[in-house]
């Protein structure tokens, strides 16, 4: 079973992440280089399908607490894209004769534990979780996808198209403009999310890598750059 959570690495990762935000340490963003990564399709599909299923449930639980109906509609957008992605992975498993429930099961405990930690205390935090954690893990899985065999990849190419982001950004920005105290709290929450999520991303990536993860650093540079753009879009400091 893949270990999604490794408490001992939290400090190291947080330090690396902070260093990456220091202008003097910034290197040009590189394209993801995943030559060393050979995902096992069955593991990839089970992980990805279960993660998306869990993300939609997190949104379903958060939706009713939205402060406005417009906010609730946007929670529905995040749930819809998560379920569409879940369904795409389930269809792919069924196409090749694999049992989706069986492939998802090994990832249940670790992903449940992770999402429980980061599901958020109110609607605002849950939305940021959907946007930030969903965004980082979608970017990661999109990169892994590119290293999968062509027959698995075809049909999944458009899965991680980020089509939910404009609606989330528009609605969350509007809410935050009216609630400066919430904005300050969410900037903090975003920092916790990125730390926890990158740790999980590292663990997932390492489990697919041929050798030690040292050569995978550019992947994290890219994930962090995309995260910073996402927070910028909300007017929040990453």
């Amino acid at each position: 079973m893949v270990s999604w959570w490794n408490r001992k690495r939290a400090g190291q990762l947080a330090a690396a992440w902070l260093a990456s935000r220091n202008p003097r340490a910034t290197s040009p963003v590189e394209r993801l280089k995943l030559d060393d990564v050979v995902p096992e399709p069955a593991v990839f599909l089970g992980q990805a399908a279960y993660l998306q299923l869990s993300l939609y449930e997190t949104m379903g639980q958060a939706g009713a607490a939205a402060p406005t109906m417009a906010g609730r509609l946007v929670t529905g957008v995040l749930a819809t894209t998560a379920l569409d992605r879940h369904r795409a992975f389930v269809s792919e498993m069924e196409r090749v004769g694999l049992d989706p429930a069986e492939l998802m099961e090994p990832h249940r405990h670790a992903i449940d534990e992770f999402l429980e930690r980061i599901s958020g205390a109110d609607w605002y935090e849950s939305m940021l979780t959907g946007y930030v954690t969903g965004g980082i893990l979608n970017d990661l899985f999109a990169s892994l996808l590119r290293s999968l065999p062509g027959d698995v990849r075809s049909g999944l190419d458009d899965v991680f198209d980020r089509r939910e982001e404009p609606a989330v950004v528009a609605e969350l920005s509007r809410q935050l403009a009216a609630e400066p105290l919430v904005a300050a709290r969410l900037a903090m929450w975003g920092r916790r999310l990125v730390g926890d999520t990158l740790l999980v991303a590292r663990s997932a990536l390492a489990s697919h890598a041929r050798e030690d993860g040292a050569r995978l650093e550019p992947v994290f540079t890219e994930l962090i750059a995309a995260h910073t753009r996402r927070m910028d879009a909300l007017g929040l400091t990453a």
Copy 2:
């Protein structure tokens, strides 16, 4: 605002429903006759969109408590179809320049109160709610849809295609076969659901009718017949 819940009519409706299950009282199932019903498109779309949004949230809340991963996948199927339907109604509102949040808002309180009553105490009950209550209200809205102007109708024709039902029936039947005590409890729960849901259906239909609801009885005969078929498919007595 449409009143979705009228406690005084519960007894009458329950009696009518019981009578309908008496073989001597059974009349041939008629095609829905909705000549007297002229739904206001804005009201129809707001009601339908909010109901589907709420149904997906109910499924999202129930999913994590599923006894098996296969059960959880099926909860995801119910959530997916609810969100697809929600999205179809939202798209239609946007197409004609109406504000989805504004049109959904008047129905919020009544639908919330209704779903809170019937969301179920565990995964099994919530699944039956999605299947039975979702099924009855989908049938009702499909009938109303046929009375809408053609330009609203087109594009929404396939919305209520019942495509989720085979997966729900297969999984729930498998679970119930292994849990006879749960099956007995669910048969009871189904009776409560149909009583409460038909009451809501009657209220919704009356709000769209030109005159007194007396001539709408065939609609309910049809809804009850479809409900009985749904319960039969699970091996449960309606």
